[in-house]
Amino acid sequence: MARWGMVIDLDKCVGCQSCSVACKAENNVPHGSATEQRQRREIYWNRVIAVSEGEYPTARLEFIPMPCMHCEDAPCVTVCPAKATYHRDDGIVIQDFRRCIGCRYCLIACPYGVRSFNFKDQQEEEYHRPDLPPTRADRGAWPFPQRVRGVVEKCTFCFHRIDQGLKEGKKIGIDVVPACVEACPSKARIFGDLDDPNSEVSRLLATRGSFRLREELSTHPKVFYLHG
């Protein structure tokens, strides 16, 4: 079984937020109003934070794109009382809207703040997916046709693309990648199988210095950053 991971080259990232927009388009993540954004109630599956250090003339600004880190030892999976968030066999941390009871314990436990709670009914066109019809029989490409309020949402590494691609025999990481990887104009994001020594991600991790966010917490994220 593959172990999906992502490498983000901070040297290439220009902070354009294309990944955030592509993610919203792909997964029908609702657009919040400016007020909701200020109140921290807008749903983001992917965001880009800007981190500054030092003062002029030695100031430094870095953009850190942040999808879900898909930790190997994920605190959210440990604390979820309803088995709504769990690891798939390929290591992707999934949030099942049908199971989620909306207790928000995972938001408390997540060290990266990548989870969002759905605070209201979103406009219908924002989550209706006519192009990916869900069938209950084999869960379809998109298992959550209805976005419901009162549950927690998060990045899925676009597992619907991966599953569809595997079914069609395509190469994941080359032919099929998550929406944010596809949309990145500077090709800062690379997706692939961490267990496959020939994959682009493995090659990059072997040849370049990398780090993960908050490594001291030992959550072992599967999103790696190359130094900028």
């Binding site: 954004q37 200020r38 109140q39 921290r40 109630r41 965001r47 934070i49 800007a50 981190v51 500054s52 250090e53 430094r60 600004l61 870095e62 850190i64 942040m66 605190p75 999976v77 440990t78 604390v79 979820c80 009382p81 309803a82 088995k83 199971r99 989620c100 009871i101 909306g102 207790c103 928000r104 314990y105 938001l107 408390i108 436990a109 997540c110 060290p111 990266y112 703040g113 989870r115 969002s116 709670f117 759905n118 605070f119 209201k120 009914d121 419901v148 309020r149 009162g150 549950v151 927690v152 966010l213 908050r214 917490l217």
Partner: protein
Amino acid sequence: MDLTYSPIEGKSRGYRIMVAILGVMVAVMVTSFLVAYLSGLQVWGISDAVPWGQLITFDIYFIGLSAGAIVVSGLSYVLRREEYKPIGRIAVLMGLLIFTGAMVCVLVDLGRPEKFWRLFMYGYLNNMTSMFALNSIWYGGYILLMLIYLWLALENKTKLAMIIGTIDVLWAIGVHSFTGAIFGLIGTREILFSPIKPFEFITAALTSGTALLIIVVVAAFKFTNRSLDKKVILSLGRLLSIIIIVLLVMVFFDKLTHIYFPHRAGALFLFTGRYWWLFWIFQIGMGLIIPLIILFHPKASRSVKGVVIASISVVIGVLGERAALVIPGTAQVQQLYPGTIEGVWGTAGVFPIAFWETTLSLGIISLIVLLFVLALKYLDILPAKESKEAPEPTGESVATNEESGDSIAANEVAGESVATNEG
């Protein structure tokens, strides 16, 4: 000593007005819940930055009050101390009703409350590594134990009440330790993460539970014209002062651990951040310092009034302590990457007091008070008025009878003011 219990008559105008007002507040509670349920939790003050708000604050506060009341009831039913007998039943009743309120809090706090049953699908549909799932065992068992305990106390089955009471007291300690563990085990939140949290929770529970019991007992006995030995209240006051000192030591070392080592951003945020007043004014000031001053004051500590004022301070202070855990604990910005995070992602969370959330909290408090006053009327909770003493203070009793309507109304007002303070 043979003690008989009797219900209050509950026919005075004041009592009826009180029940009516509380009934209206319960209707407000139901409305607030429906509003939040139908329009989503956007009507509350919570956000992704502060995911838990008033309801969780009141939830852990109520669980603490309940655990405290049950432990104090053990003085009467487990340790068989005769002098505490008059307040035994009232303590068990309080434990049960306040815990019911806590369960209402946690239920309405869920984003999808209709799916709460998942918590009780042990091992099959729920995840037993979650403190919430474990707590469903503790909480469910606790409610059952308290129901049996109250029934045994009402039936005067003292032997069985002692056995069930002992189990219940131990269970209450477990309940509250695991409630503390909900917060204490979260390693990513610096303010919450602490192995001492479960013990701190129990100790805070004992202080607030004892304090609320003192207030309720004094109020209930006063406004129903029953006599209570002053010594009971004063000895509860002494008990309270000792537990507060234990709590002070725990809080001191908890915060010292968080501030001593350079990794101190969390403690600094708690002490000097946006919600510094929750910690300094409520938790430290009203929860620890003021009651200690009163309870060690040579004069004030020997008057019922002084003990009651100290208790009110503790009850409000411990609510502040819960809020100082839930709100700054999550509002603090997590250090994702060295440097300053710019913009909205680097701003500490804000928790506004939202209308529908506040009405819901006040409504749940009213529900508890309503159940309590109804229980006083329909169950034998309070000791019967002693017929020997009744003729003695004739002038006084006439006066109080005349005023009984007003005085119960005053009790109501006092209850309300406590409620609004808590809100």
